[in-house]
């Protein structure tokens, strides 16, 4: 019988406890989607000592080698605060080999499951499903960067959330991602990507494009609906009984926000610091 489960990556940096986020995300997956969840982490021993009870949420703890990285990016925390932090994102392509499941839902640790929407996708026949279309909860921001990897190039796909089944074709896809990662400077030049830092979203987008023979093919099926997200310049207030409340940055008014609430909807909360505050104390503000 085919095994189905979710996998979450958790690789801490100096300021963000991704393990804590992963535990929170895993609890929601287990409660709402009712599937087992495994974690892929480079700090398994630390996790078991820091979160001995909470770690039991995981079906399996899959350890990968710790590696320091020079990848850095700016992490905003609302409009007025930010810091440059280490960013570990180089192992996503290995999920094909690491997952213990035949059919796997992969989510970022800051992707908050708040509905059963993905259950249908888990039960569908498609071997690889991912979000292409997305929508910010902010109505005024220019989100064209999430439509194409740049205006001259190919469609943008989110490596934040995807579902795959172990098949030779899907294995090829992850092999292609590994190849892109190994030759990142070549591919980023070829696809006119300005930033030098490797980014999974771009690598996935390029790999999907290649799997589709560089045209508009059907290798990647879109996950249901659109991926909703808040930027790291927005704040999470709370999550309670399926209701999520946010503060969304106002246009041209630094430090001012508009309150927004949502029911029964999955949301990618890019402000990890705010999400951490909420997990710690019940309010992300």
């Amino acid at each position: 019988m085919k095994t189905v489960g979710a996998v979450i990556f958790a690789q801490n940096n100096s300021s963000i406890d991704y393990v804590k986020l992963a535990i929170f995300a895993a609890n929601r997956v287990k409660t709402i989607l009712n599937i087992p969840v495994s974690v892929i982490t480079d700090c398994a021993d630390w996790m078991l000592s820091a979160y001995p009870k909470e770690s039991t949420v995981f079906d399996q703890i899959i350890e990968i080698e710790y590696a320091s990285t020079t990848n850095q990016k700016r992490f905003n925390d609302g409009t007025l605060s930010s810091k440059f932090l280490e960013w570990k994102n180089l192992d996503r392509n290995s999920v094909y080999d690491l997952t213990p499941y035949d059919r796997t839902l992969v989510i970022d640790s800051d992707y908050v499951i708040n509905s059963t929407l993905l259950l249908g996708a888990l039960e569908s026949d498609h071997n690889f499903q991912i979000y292409k279309d997305s929508r910010s909860l902010s109505s005024w921001r220019d989100n064209t960067e999430f439509e194409r990897i740049n205006q001259y190039s190919i469609p943008f796909y989110w490596a934040t959330t995807f579902i795959f089944e172990k098949t030779p074709e899907v294995k090829s896809f992850f092999d292609v991602i590994s190849y892109i990662k190994s030759n990142w400077q070549y591919f980023r030049t070829l696809y006119s990507i300005e930033v030098a830092t490797f980014r999974n979203d771009f690598a996935f987008s390029i790999a999907i494009h290649l799997m589709n023979a560089k045209t508009s093919g059907i290798f990647a099926q879109e996950l249901p609906g659109k991926m909703l997200y808040i930027s790291d310049r927005d704040l999470l207030i709370s999550i309670k009984d399926g209701k999520m409340k946010f503060l969304i940055e106002k246009e041209n008014h630094l430090g001012e926000y508009t309150a927004v609430s949502l029911n029964d909807t999955d949301v990618h909360i890019m402000n990890k610091l705010s999400l951490t505050r909420f997990i710690d104390g019940g309010s992300g503000v």
Binding site: R148, Q151, S153, Y191, T215
Partner: protein, 283 residues
């Protein structure tokens, strides 16, 4: 009585001061020879001299019927209504010279065979996004005209189509009068075949000759519809392109499908022509 070959492509080409359209028609013919499985016939309608090398890829080279109505014009379109009469085929697909066929389009023939005439009304940009051209087609929008592209259409020799082309001839010959009646808003003060066809469709009352299910579609490379924030003089300055050894045309890293309307005259370089000749196995 002449027996009509069943199916074929027809292209009209008339050189002007700025462009060698015979050369473009040759490139198109090479692309047809290398990509099409069932229908590879192509006839060239022209009064220009055709180099010997080029002649080999055309089934027929047909003089423009009834004199050259575009003798004194730069944008030589006044003869295009004559293609119905010039075509040697029972079923014809008309293409503009500055196009390349990149994949087999047998399914288009199969679909169109159900009808007497079908015009293309859908285009994409090189990113394969469906686009509606509101930049160059203001008069279409303002006057609610059919969004028709003469650059790609199909017809069968039939009484109904002959009637339509008679009306098209009238519109082309009296375009100022017809535009004034049917396209007075955002008035276009020059003759274009697309507007003329749209007006002919109104006059003939045959809006159904374009339909949303039709597979007729092409990639249009006019710069303003490529979805860029700037509008360059040449799309070739913005995105690279190359033809692969198996005939895939890749623009901005995106493999183009079916029919590609490159628009810019300098697109057909000597190198590209050589590559197309190799693909078509023409020495």
């Amino acid at each position: 009585m002449e027996v009509l070959v069943s199916k074929g492509f027809v292209v009209l080409a008339q050189n002007n001061k700025n462009g060698d359209y015979i050369r473009q028609a040759y490139a198109l013919a090479l692309s047809i020879k290398s990509t099409q499985i069932d229908v590879t016939n192509i006839s060239l309608v022209t009064n220009n001299r055709v180099p010997k090398k080029y002649k080999a890829v055309f089934d027929k080279i047909i003089p423009i019927p009834w004199n050259d109505d575009a003798k004194n014009t730069q944008w030589k379109i006044e003869n295009r209504w004559k293609l119905y009469h010039a075509s040697p085929y029972y079923e014809t697909i008309v293409l503009d010279a500055d196009m390349l066929l990149l994949e087999d389009i047998s399914t288009w023939w199969t679909y169109c065979a159900n009808f007497d005439i079908r015009f293309c009304s859908k285009i994409t940009n090189y990113k394969l996004e469906n686009v509606i051209d509101t930049v160059h087609r203001k008069t279409f929008v303002a006057n609610n005209l059919s969004n028709v592209y003469h650059a790609l259409h199909y017809f069968k020799k039939s009484k109904k189509v002959a009637e339509f082309y008679k009306i098209l001839e009238f519109v082309v010959s009296n375009w100022e009068l017809c535009y004034g009646k049917f396209a007075p808003l955002e008035y276009q003060n020059w003759l274009s075949m697309d507007v003329a066809c749209a007006v002919a469709i109104e006059l003939a009352g045959v809006r159904d000759i374009i339909d949303t299910n039709s597979p007729l579609q092409f990639t249009h490379m006019k710069s303003p519809i490529q979805g860029w924030t700037i509008n360059p003089e040449s799309w070739q300055d913005m995105v690279p392109h190359h033809l692969t050894s198996n005939g895939k045309l890749v623009v901005g890293n995106i493999a183009q499908d079916k029919l590609f309307h490159y628009v810019e005259k300098n697109f057909v370089t000597d190198t590209l022509l050589t590559e197309l000749e190799e693909l078509a196995n023409v020495k």
